[in-house]
Symmetry: C2
Subunit: 337 residues, 2 copies
Amino acid sequence: MTRLAVLGATGAVGETLLKVLAEREFPLDELRLLASERSAGQTRHFRGEDVEVQLATEDAFDGIDIAIFSAGAARSRTFAPHAVAAGAVVIDNSSAFRMDPEVPLVVPEVNPQAAFTHKGVIANPNCSTMQLVPVLKPLHDAAGLEHVTVSTYQSVSGTGQKAIDGLRREAARSLRGETATAEVYAHPIAFNVLPFAGALQGDDGYTDEELKLVNESRKILDLPNLRVSATCVRVPVVNCHSEAVWVTTRERLGAARVRELLEAAPGVTVIDDPVGNAYPTALEIDGLDGVYVGRIRDDLGDDHGVALWVVADNLRKGAATNTVQIAELLTGVTAKR
Amino acid sequence: MTRLAVLGATGAVGETLLKVLAEREFPLDELRLLASERSAGQTRHFRGEDVEVQLATEDAFDGIDIAIFSAGAARSRTFAPHAVAAGAVVIDNSSAFRMDPEVPLVVPEVNPQAAFTHKGVIANPNCSTMQLVPVLKPLHDAAGLEHVTVSTYQSVSGTGQKAIDGLRREAARSLRGETATAEVYAHPIAFNVLPFAGALQGDDGYTDEELKLVNESRKILDLPNLRVSATCVRVPVVNCHSEAVWVTTRERLGAARVRELLEAAPGVTVIDDPVGNAYPTALEIDGLDGVYVGRIRDDLGDDHGVALWVVADNLRKGAATNTVQIAELLTGVTAKR
C-alpha cells in the first residue's frame, strides 16, 4: 500500500490522474492532493470520499512514498528537492528534468528497467513523444531504426482547460458569422490549423515541442543518434493527439510485418481496415488508454520505410496514465484494468 | 477577346472561377455558363450583368474558344470530345485526363511550356499537388530533388458546399453537447481529424488523394522517378489546405538558401517570422491567390533536407485560379491583378 501525493491535482492532467488511479484500482493508503493557493481548500471526489486539496508547501511531502507532479516545470524545480528529501520518489510530468542525465525518462512499455535507476526523480515524457515510442520500439528491435519523420495534429487540451473553453468560444463566434479572434494562441484556432506548438527554442526556428520529439525519443529508446524530423501543429480538436509518421529501418520490414509487430506490441492497438473506414481518430480514442495505430502502408518514397497514423489521448497515455504505470512499476502493482 | 464556357458553373469551384475571372479582368467576348439540369435556368452575376446558366449539352460548345470544366470526371469524359470537336480548348479541373500521356498537366509557374503541346485538352492538377509544385520547382532547379515527404491538413471545401454546411452543423451540435454524428465523411469531422481523404486506390492501402500527390508531382516536374511519401488528412477547416513538407535535395541547400529561392519563386510568398508569430495559416490565406510558405527550417533528421509549411486556398490556386492562369497563357493575356 502506497501513500501518494499529487501536485497539481486540480489541473487538466491532475483531474485525469484521479480518474486513472480509480479505474486501475491503484492500492492507496493515503491520497494527498496538493495545489497552489488558488485551488487549495477545494475538494475532489475519489473512491466515494471527498478529499480536500491542500496547499503545496515544502513540508507537504512528509510520509509520502510517491509524489506525482503535474504543475509545470517551475513548481517541479521548487518542490522536487523537498519531496525527495522527505523520502518520496517523484514522478514528474513537466519538462524540468527530462533531459537531465541523472533522471530516467520512462515509458513502461519501452524502457521499464530505466525506472529502477532513479535517484529520487523519474521523468514522464512529453505527450507527443509518449505516444510515438511504444510504436517505434518493436520496429527498432526487429529491424533497427534509421529515421523517423513525424508531423503532429495536436489537440488543445494539453494547453489546459482554458484552451478547451477558448476553442469552443471561438468556434461559437465563427458559427454566428463573427470575425475570428484568438483567445488562446497567437492566431485563432477554431476552423484553423497553426503550424506552431509550444515556444521557440534555439536559433534554428524549431519549437520546444519539436525538439522534445527529437531529444526525448533518443533518450527513451537509448538511440542518441536517431535521426528525427519533426513538425508540430495545433489543430481544432479538444483532446487526443494524432501523428502522421514515417519510419525507415535498416532492414526492410514492409507493411505486413509492421502490422504483425504492432499487433503484438505492449500498449499498442492496431485499427487498420480502411475498406471498412476503420482507422483511429481523435474523437474515437478520447478517454481510452494506450496508443492506437492505423493507415499502415509501405512508404512509396522509401523502400525501407513504412507510413503510419498514431493517435492517443494526450491527457491519459500522453500524461496521467503513464505516471500511474510508472507508479505501478515501482510498487510492483499490476493494474486491475 | 475570348469566348469562354464554364462547365460546372454553380459548384464551389465554378463560383470561385467567376470571382477570379472578374478580379483578373480576363478579356471576354462571351461567357457561357453551363451546368446540369439541377442548376440550369439559374442566373449568376458577372461584371454587372446577370448571366443565365444553360443546360450542358453536346452542342453547347459551338463557337467557344476555351472551355473550363469543373463538374467531375464523369462529365469531363462525356463533354470533352464534343467541346474539342467544336474547336474549343478544354481546361479540365477533374482527374479524368491528368495522367493521360497525351494531355499536359500544367501549373503555369512550373511548366508553362507544356500547355502549348495540348491536343485539345489541358488538365489542371489536384489541389494538394498544385500548391506543392511551385515550391518544389525552384529547389529542384537549384539542387536536384531527391525525396519529398508531405502530410496534408486539408479543408472540407474541396468536397463541396455540402461539406462546409455539414462541418458547421456538426460543430454546432457538438457545442450544444450533443453526440457527434457524421454528416459528410465516414466519421465526424468537427473537432476531429480524419486520416483519410478521397477513396482507396489499388491494394496498398493508399487513397487516390495520396497517389495524386505522387503521380501528378512527377508528371508536372517531369521527374518520373521522384520519391514522394504522402499521407492525406482531413481537418475541420472550411477552406485552404495546409501541408507539412520535407524536401531532400542532392546538393545541400540549407534553410537560408531555401528561403532566398522561395522569396524569388513565381507565385510563392514567404511568411516566416516565428518570433513575431508569422507563418501562414488557413484562415489568413482564405481568399488569396498564390502559395504561402513558412516554418522554413533545416531538417534535423536529414543533412540534405529542409522542413516547410505550405498553405494555399484550395478553391483558388488549388483549382479556379490555376485554370484562369492557363487560359491567360493560351491567350497571351497578362492578368490585371
